[in-house]
């Protein structure tokens, strides 16, 4: 069967783009999600991935030609065995007995499937703006959040979908937000970069690099002054440690013994810039010594190692012995944003990290220890995929904000 590849809205204002080059030629095979062509938009040069896998049957927009959003630019022949998997029948009561490890697994799969689903929604043109995704970093979000109680708080960044799902936000409130609907967690006004829900212990994402670090210290100061025992987990990336806000926020938390777990998800790249280009010490955790606090580097793709280290750090903070700096070594399997094709990740490095998939690592542990059968894990994945698809159908018809709501929530009382 022939599948039409339509040009998605890649966050442009002018719907016309120019085809720069095709990365696959007619007759060649292409996998779903693999880079297909590059286009020049009104802002930048963007790589478009294939929404289906198969054989590239024809190219409908030559290099140098203009194309508009929604226009068919290629046709891909979908082989029968590569085709749509269709609807999966779920067995009643398929969910296994609840064991914590399986919960961690489910949460990580939830993040992966959400991000993969959103990626294709973006490619299909259903998602506006830009999206910063976290495939490959599921263990750090899930491991840290599993160590927190309901009254603890997390801060996040522009790459916050995983943190939100790990903290307990629903697929629906996140997806509705991405669709710009009033039922989204920020009523359609925050979007992908600013997701959060304070009732669930997550601040809206702080989308300026490093900007959330002083905020986390500030919330922790309030917790300390009120003599509460809550903890703030502050997520940021390796790029943030070059910001002044990192130094100032961590130092203030340190001199006042504030209950913050500073969680640096070191995925090796701040946007496209490799971490060894931006600092001379090999470990971000080594910086803890400069502030007189404890620092620790952990395998961020091993959710059990993350959970153990997080439990330790959270306990220290609750006892007034914080803050703690955790460096979680991990890897981003996608570009920095949907505009970034990730060409700067060397193939060998990428292959090594791809072989250390956090979800597969936990799956092996579960299966080898007899805690779960492969079929149980497969059922979890299918159930989440089905839940995501249902949520997408609902999100498409959710109410959008009216123009009357443009200036609501600017001041407490209106103006």
């Amino acid at each position: 069967m022939l599948h039409e590849i339509k040009l998605p809205d890649v966050g442009t204002v002018d719907p016309t783009v120019t085809v720069v080059r095709w990365l696959v030629q007619a007759g060649q095979a292409i996998e779903r999600g693999a880079p297909l062509l590059e286009v020049e938009t009104d802002k930048s040069i963007v790589t478009i991935e294939a929404t289906v896998g198969g054989i590239l049957e024809s190219i409908e927009a030559e290099e140098g030609a203009e194309a508009a959003t929604g226009q068919v630019v290629a046709r891909i022949k979908v082989a029968a065995d590569l085709g749509d998997t269709g609807t999966i029948e779920l067995r009643a009561g398929a969910r296994a007995e609840t064991i914590p490890l399986l919960d961690l697994y489910e949460r990580m799969v939830l993040i992966r499937e959400f991000e993969e689903g959103v990626k294709f929604l973006f490619l299909e043109g259903s998602m506006p703006g830009t999206i910063h995704q976290c495939q490959g970093q599921e263990a750090s979000a899930v491991g840290v959040c599993a160590a927190l109680g309901p009254d603890d708080v997390i801060t996040s960044t522009f790459r916050g979908h995983g943190h939100a799902l790990a903290r307990g936000l629903s697929i629906e409130e996140l997806l509705d937000e991405l669709f710009g609907a009033t039922t989204g967690c920020c009523r359609g006004k925050g979007g992908s970069m600013h997701v959060g829900d304070l009732d669930k212990g997550m601040l809206p994402g702080i989308a300026i690099v490093g900007g959330g670090i002083p905020l986390a210290a500030g919330m922790a100061l309030a917790i300390k002054l009120r003599k509460e025992r809550h903890v703030v987990a502050c997520f940021f990336g390796d790029g943030a440690v070059a910001e002044g806000a990192f130094h100032e926020g961590v130092n203030l938390a340190a001199i006042w013994d504030l209950p913050v777990v500073f969680v640096c998800e070191n995925n090796l790249y701040g946007a496209s810039t490799r971490v060894d280009m931006i600092m001379r010490v090999p470990r971000i955790s080594a910086r803890a010594a400069a502030y007189g606090i404890r620092g620790e580097t952990v395998d961020g793709n091993d959710v059990l190692a993350v959970l153990e280290a997080s439990n330790r750090a959270v306990a220290e903070c609750r006892q007034g012995r914080g803050p703690v700096l955790l460096e979680l070594l991990t890897y981003r399997r996608t570009g920095h944003s949907r505009r970034d094709a990730c060409h700067y990740q060397p193939e060998k490095e990428r292959a090594e990290w791809m072989a250390r998939d956090p979800i597969e690592i936990l799956a092996r542990t579960l299966i080898d220890s007899g805690a779960a059968a492969p079929e149980t894990l497969a059922v979890i994945k299918r159930r989440i995929q089905a839940q995501f698809q249902t949520a997408v159908e609902h999100a498409r018809s959710r109410p959008l904000p009216s123009l009357d709501e443009l200036a609501t929530d600017v001041y407490a009382q209106g103006e």
Binding site: G11, T12, V13, D14, V17, T18, E40, T41, D42, K43, S44, I45, P128, G129, T130, E177, G180, C186, G188, K189, G190, G191, S192, M193, H194, A207, I208, V209, G210, G211, G239, A240, A242, E243, G244, A245, G270, A271, S272, T273, M277, I278, M279, Y344, L400, P401, L403, E405, L406, A407, V410, E415
Partner: protein
Amino acid sequence: MAVLTFREALNQAMAEEMERDKNVFLMGQEVAQYDGAYKVSQGLLKRFGPERVVDTPISEAGFAGIGVGAAMVGLRPIIEFMTFSFSLVAIDQIVNNAANMRYMSGGQFAVPIVFRGSSGMAGCLAATHSHRLEAWYSQIPGLTVVMPSTPSDAKGLLKSCIRTDDPVVFIEHEVLYHERGEVPEGEHLVPIGKADIKRPGNDVTLITYSRSLKATLAAAEALAADGIDAEVIDLRTIRPLDLDTLLESVVKTHRAVIVEEDWPYCGLGAGISDRITQRVFDELDAPIRRVAAKDAPIPYNKALEASMLPSADRIIAAVRDVLYL
């Protein structure tokens, strides 16, 4: 004349000035190996090497300050912010150090630096990534603020800005990078501080800049069909303001509408309106009207964001208002 995109025009300006003056260098996040977040610096690393096309950490206050320091001792840095939204992290360096240095040192130091990068509402990037900071920077004595709207002006003005001995805030609208336009061959300099009359007319003066020029010209054409002859002025430089060109036009038309993507309260148009009113109040046949963004943070939702922008319809309504139609 060659037809170039906005980004190619900027790229040529930097390359030509780097070729001409070895003190000129480019610094910022992703400008070298990645060719710039918006591909404005494409190929410059290869051509000029890593000492003159410098990748930095995500460290805006740091690299803005390093630029100011380098400029004080004779280099001519071009500092690229991935977007001017991120310049908020570095605003102390731009305002306190770059803008004030010449003044407070009694003229001992020049700070020949260009801060440049993208800006504006650019498609569902929401409140933190859609800032328009032209009014903020234009308020600061000591800064020159430039916002081109065509590839030709982008090139000619950037070259002039790199050569000037004062700190410049050079704001590129994110949605204009792909715009194509004719750019004169050879040495092409556009003077700082000179507005450009894009469409002469007699009935009303439309004052605009950057991305809003397009909607303003569209409005002028629609008005022409109704027999209203609008003059459209592209400011190009925001500070110093080319007040003479504005006054000459207002004295002719007796009516003015200012079109801006900035917020309405204390926005750029407020300052421009004040300047005109102070000088030629008696010439005005109607209060100056402003078509600005609406008074709210920039929303994510597509329709809400679109409602913020000055549209041709809103401009036409404002023109009819000052004409009492």
